[in-house]
Amino acid sequence: MASKTVHVFCSQGTWQVKREGASGKAYGTKREAVAAARKTMNSMRAGQFVVHGKDGLIKEHGTHNMTPVQDPPKKSSRASEIARAVSQVVLDRLQSNSTP
């Protein structure tokens, strides 16, 4: 079963829109990719989309019929490092599944 998260990320000069366990699609611009990701998310019963920046940090995130995650009340001193690591591990797995 495909995951509920629609990812937007840059790979080899194009912007990819992909869910884990499903085929993806490439777009010429980030704007087009984000619009397509939102459309995909809204077509799902419940889902979320996330835009991975080139620096590895989450740039944009949205949910549709899915509980949004709250930020912890106190920020870890390693918050950016952790965000990059999580994003990279998830993207590595996503990209190793199949090519869009």
Binding site: T5, I58, M66, P72, S76, A79, V89
Partner: protein, 205 residues
């Protein structure tokens, strides 16, 4: 006591060392996946403040409390039980009973390793929401989910099976995430673990 009660904040009162860590981690994960905020005395690092004052301040702000009493057992090195968890549970219940009117909205879940074990050491808490997690992290996830859904009356929350599945996938990814900043998963601080779970939920669900 005059702090505003935060409707998303859940005070976690659990043993967090050694063999209890899998249950502790599963409870935090479940709380965050449901859109609530996990609070714990471990998030404070101000050594100048008395530990009890930190805990009191945190309890006062949290609408919900999850208290795991499974760590109440005889410590072989002292022949005495550890009693921090029942103390913090007592503070939570006392705050609800004797605090300002808004504190009466507090709700608490009590977890233990076995059904009715609490009757042998703290029988006066009978009548509260007391459930057994059976020493199984996924069972703890389901108990926390069902209790939070019922007490908060929020709609659209993920089911226990779905959260348990998210938790399995998170556990699969955690060693790779930690390897990227040269840390062992078991050595993450509470703040680091909360940040890791929150970021994973935004990208990995």
């Amino acid at each position: 006591m005059s702090a505003r009660l935060k409707r998303n904040d859940v005070f976690i009162n659990c043993p967090f060392d050694g063999g209890f860590k899998p249950i502790f981690n599963a409870i935090i994960f479940s709380v965050l996946d449901l859109g609530f905020v996990a609070r714990c005395s471990l998030e404070e690092d101000d050594a100048a403040e008395f530990r009890l004052s930190k805990i009191e301040r945190m309890i006062e702000k949290c609408r919900f409390g999850i208290n795991d009493l499974s760590g109440v057992a005889i410590d072989p090195s002292t022949s005495l039980p550890r009693f921090n968890m029942p103390l913090e549970l007592g503070l939570f219940l006392g705050c609800k009973r004797f605090g300002l009117p808004n504190q009466s909205k507090k709700r608490t879940l009590i977890l233990d390793s076995e059904p009715y074990r609490y009757r042998k050491f703290i029988s006066d808490i009978g009548g509260q929401d007391i459930r057994s997690q059976g020493g199984d992290p996924e069972r703890a996830v389901r108990e926390v989910r069902d209790w939070l859904q019922a007490t908060s009356r929020r709609v659209g929350l993920a089911g226990g099976g779905e959260i348990a599945e998210h938790y399995r996938r998170f556990q699969r990814d955690l060693p790779s995430v930690c390897a990227r900043f040269a840390l062992e998963p078991d050595r993450l601080t509470f703040l680091d673990l909360s940040a890791t779970i929150a970021d994973w939920l935004r990208t990995g669900r």
